[in-house]
Symmetry: C2
Subunit: 215 residues, 2 copies
């Protein structure tokens, strides 16, 4: 078994706060924008799953002898800023954000998975097993675009903004937390290439939603 | 095994919507009022548990061949009105509301437990097993009152308002849904006496928080 490399507390901290705040924001978006109780419940289910991931991460941080609040603290600013810049204006934007945001987070878990100790990897795999939870968003957005194809342009722009703001916050985090950035890039790789991979994966997800990559 | 008596779909519907909306409101209150990430996480944990209860109730409703949205629909108005009338103004009000609201709901489950079919009773017992989850609120409110005893008067008034508004909504629901009301009262009992028991239990919980029953 490998020891926790430097940067693991940062990695768990950023993921923990991302899950905690996604839980709270998705719940808020469900209250504000869901057009029916079934839709509220569907997005609520995704939110509740984020809370369960948060708990796993918090417990893992504590088991490393690190205070979870301290581990999360450096990432509160950038993640709150991302959510503030990407507050959805309606239900379709809410769904695209839930799907895109969850997808970016899962890519980030996958990037991290190969570079951490065994116990952290087990946790990462447990979270990744939950991947299908945002699938309901694909079906609902797909149906909405089929019904009214004019939605597709503005949602494609929205999806671009979501990933653009995420990369911009991500670059600042990488500069401020060099150990975390080092953990996320393998030898011969660099952080820019990792961000390019995330952007490509985002594009594939947006295609799955039925959104063009160039609006 | 007893068949579902009339009113059970109503009972499960009111509880399901109460859990769904508590989940969403507590998440919102955590975002708005929690003074630290640990507090946000603690109230978030209670909210996530409410979502898990909602899922149990929704599945049970569906297994009775009833549409969960239809079962919840009659109770959306009264429960939304209760939450609108009792939006907490700060973190201590949030905690008292979470503890009082969860407590009233659990009393309601207990009243119901003796009068339903076996499968519904299993579900009720599963929810009741989660009772300790709002205990963190008792500790935090107790500590705040110890530190500043002047908080106790206004929080006692707040607790009264919480239960007063709940009874007022409850009476309207009992009038509008006679089968539900009948389910909740045993022979020789009446709904007023049930409300009196709920009020007494509320008073005991407020005493546990360190709040006087007469402010």
């Amino acid at each position: 078994m490998m020891d926790s490399p430097p940067g693991v507390a940062d990695l768990l901290g950023v993921l923990a706060y991302a899950e905690l705040t996604a839980f709270l924001r998705f719940a808020e978006d469900a209250t504000r924008h869901a057009p029916s109780l079934a839709d509220q419940a569907a997005l609520g289910g995704l939110a509740a799953a984020e809370y369960a991931h948060f708990q796993l991460l918090r417990d893992r941080i504590a088991s490393l002898g690190v205070d979870p609040e301290e581990a999360m603290a450096p990432f509160v600013g950038p993640l709150d800023a991302w959510h503030a810049q990407t507050a959805p204006g309606d239900w379709l934007e809410t769904l695209v954000k839930a799907y895109a945001g969850t997808g970016i987070a899962l890519d980030f878990y996958r990037e991290a998975a190969t570079r951490v100790d065994d116990e952290t990897r087990d946790l990462v795999e447990e979270v990744l097993a939950d991947e299908g939870r945002s699938q309901f968003a694909v079906e609902r957005v797909g149906a909405a675009i089929k019904e009214d194809p004019r939605q597709s342009g503005r949602l494609a722009l929205w999806a671009r903004r979501l990933v653009g703001e995420a990369l911009s916050q991500g670059q600042q985090v990488a500069l401020a937390r060099p150990e975390l950035a080092l953990l996320l890039v393998s030898e011969g790789d660099d952080i820019t290439r990792m961000f390019a991979r995330l952007t490509e994966a985002h594009g594939r997800r947006m295609a799955a939603l039925g959104l063009p990559s160039t609006p």
